[in-house]
């Protein structure tokens, strides 16, 4: 079996723009699901609202495309009512960290056995490019035309502080690593949070001097630094360059979890 067996072929082509990073993340997730040996009839994909949240509609399993920000609360109901199901949540930075921020920290606190994959494009793509809680300071968007004045959230730090058992960050450039991280998340009981930084050429890149989709992917490659290296540099008292994207497995632990498969 390959990941293509999990695609809902009669829904294709998808709605994503040319050059979008979301398809890469769906691909990595389905590859991880296949490697984990999950069964279609025992797997449920859940999402909220936004570009990322359209992903479950392209997958053949049972799926619930819910309201903005609430995917984790719906997923909690599914998983608690039937822990035998593997429940995977697709979300985005606006869905997860703005309107859904409260559900995010509480799902992590409960450490409920979900795998949460966040496609962080640092922008509201679906509605045309408004600033989000992860839009970098001074980045341009339709609602930050003079540069974002707000500091951004670090989603992984948030998940770690709130109690998730597994936390990892990769980008659309790092497909092998991202796939392995999602697989590790699927295999870790409790809440697994995998942040996938993705390019949004239409609504982020276009306004922020990434003229081609690959320019932003190159940026991820150039600014990504493994967490091990970051920690080593910190120990050595060396300065971490600004705009560094900390990559890798940021937390793996064994806090008490809820809704774990019997």
């Amino acid at each position: 079996m390959t990941y293509t067996d999990w695609l809902r072929a009669d829904r294709l082509p998808h709605i994503y723009c040319a050059g979008c990073g979301n398809g890469t993340v769906i691909n990595c997730t389905l590859n991880a699901v296949v490697q984990a040996g999950l069964k279609k009839e025992e797997t449920v994909f859940v999402s909220g609202i936004g570009c990322s949240s359209r992903a479950p509609g392209y997958i053949v399993t049972d799926s619930l495309h819910t309201t903005h920000g609430r995917a984790l609360a719906f997923a909690t109901g599914i998983k608690m009512a039937n822990p035998a199901l593997s429940v995977i949540v697709f979300t985005g930075d606006g869905d997860l960290a703005a309107i859904g921020g409260n559900h995010f920290i509480h799902a992590c606190r409960r450490n409920i056995d979900l795998t949460v994959v966040c496609m962080n494009n640092m922008i509201y793509g679906m509605t045309g490019g408004q600033g989000s809680p992860t839009t970098p300071r001074m980045a341009l968007s339709t609602t930050t035309p003079y540069g974002s004045a707000e500091p951004a959230f670090d989603l992984c730090e948030l998940a770690i502080a709130a109690g998730a058992n597994y936390v990892s960050r990769w980008t659309s450039y790092h497909v092998k690593e991202l796939t392995r991280a999602i697989l590790a998340g699927l295999r870790t009981p409790g809440l697994s949070f995998i942040e996938a930084m993705v390019q949004c050429p239409t609504n982020f890149g276009r306004r922020n001097r990434y003229r081609q989709p690959l320019d932003q992917v190159e940026y991820f490659k150039a600014h990504g630094m493994l967490v091990e290296k970051v920690r080593r540099m910190q120990e050595e008292g060396r300065e971490i360059p600004p705009d560094t994207i900390v990559l890798g497995e940021l937390a793996r632990r064994n806090r008490p979890a809820m809704g774990v498969k019997p």
């Binding site: 009839e41 799926s63 619930l64 495309h65 819910t66 309201t67 909690t76 599914i78 009512a81």
Partner: protein
């Protein structure tokens, strides 16, 4: 037994196996009772971070096949509205209990009201239809709580138990039956599209984990469940069906009690004001005063008004400014007298008698 406890017990008797809620006066005893009882019955109780999450978790649980419920009051009810619309759009069977208190806003947390009757019918955006029951005793808290699940499963809609603080906190002796009537959720026939409606306009239920591979979305969707949000015909057909599947059965769904149908002066009630009217009828045994009491308020059963052919006036005591009275006015040429009483106190029998005498 307390009304709120009876509500929880009725739900358990109906096979409710999932409760998600958030503490709010005056409904909290329902959550507390479920927290104590559900785990012992193999069910799940979860206290969520807010009411938006509570109704979301209930909808999620319902899709696994569980009979699922939440309970709240005014402010929490307002927070639930978006996801209630999601339940209506996705045809998710679930039960929402509202122990009504004084509003708007924080209002009167410990005092009774019936001012969310229109909100339960129309509170979420868009056109849809729902079913709402209104208990007037602790016994009915038990019975109607159980029946709410049958209606939710049969019509695949959110069903509301619209009680008020007085009934929720009332303590009365009740009779608990050995079992309650139970309607099964109609399963999805093999090979059928997941949102293809049957003759009754209600699609079979493709529970998650049963191998149907169903995509459920709050977007306008076709019979496959696939988003189809820019096709006017698909949207119109879907929304008309969501409304018609309930409204076309409203006379079948109707549940009301008629006392003294020959009367000229008729009280129309639901919930706790019925208790004051019962006292008035008890004190006037000549059968000259009529009483129509709704146990189901939505869909509105207008035929019930015709049970009183001699009616000269319908008197409607409500704990609001006349929400259901307005609905009654839409369906009759008989004068409708609004008897609003709010602030938390129940109508006294004396003030109801005074209203009758004013018409004599």
């Amino acid at each position: 037994m307390q009304g709120n406890v009876a509500c929880a017990e009725g739900a358990l008797a109906a096979g409710c196996s999932f409760f998600a809620g958030y503490p709010i006066t005056p409904s909290t005893e329902i959550a507390e009772h479920m927290a104590a009882r559900l785990p012992k019955k193999g069910g799940v109780f979860i206290q969520m971070e807010d009411e938006l999450a509570s109704i979301a978790a209930v909808i999620g649980a319902a899709w696994t096949g569980a009979r699922a419920m939440t309970a709240t009051s005014g402010p929490g009810f307002s927070l639930m509205m978006e996801n209630i619309g999601f339940a209506a759009m996705t045809e998710t069977p679930c039960v929402i209990v509202n122990i009504q208190r004084g509003g708007p806003s924080t209002g009167q947390p410990t005092m009774s009201a019936q001012a969310d009757m229109m909100q339960c019918r129309f509170g979420s955006h868009g056109d849809y239809s729902i079913i709402a029951l209104s208990p007037a005793s602790v016994q009915e808290m038990y019975e109607l709580s159980a029946e709410a699940f049958n209606l939710a499963d049969r019509f695949r809609v959110p069903v509301f138990l619209m009680a008020d603080e007085i009934i929720g906190h009332l303590r009365e002796r009740i009779e608990i039956p050995d079992s309650v009537p139970k309607t099964e959720r109609k399963p999805l026939p093999p090979g059928e599209l997941p949102f293809h409606p049957g003759d009754d306009l209600v699609p079979g239920f493709p529970r998650f984990g049963a191998g149907h591979g169903v995509h459920v979305t709050g977007l306008t969707h076709d019979e496959r469940g696939y988003p189809c949000a820019t096709n006017p015909r698909v949207h119109e057909e879907l929304v008309r069906r969501l409304v018609e599947k309930v409204e076309s059965k409203r006379h079948e769904i109707a549940d009301y009690r008629v006392t003294n149908p020959d009367a000229e002066l008729v009280f129309v009630t639901y919930g706790s004001p019925a208790r004051s009217v019962e006292q008035v009828l008890h004190d006037n045994p000549e059968k000259t005063i009529g009483h129509l009491r709704f146990r189901i308020v939505w869909p509105f059963p207008e035929n019930a008004l015709r049970e009183f052919p001699n009616a000269r006036a319908f008197l409607v005591p409500e704990q609001n400014l006349g929400q259901m009275a307005r609905e009654i006015e839409r369906h009759t040429t008989v004068p409708v007298i609004r008897l609003p009483r709010f602030g938390g106190a129940l109508h006294t029998p004396e003030e109801l008698v005074a209203a009758l005498e004013a018409l004599a």
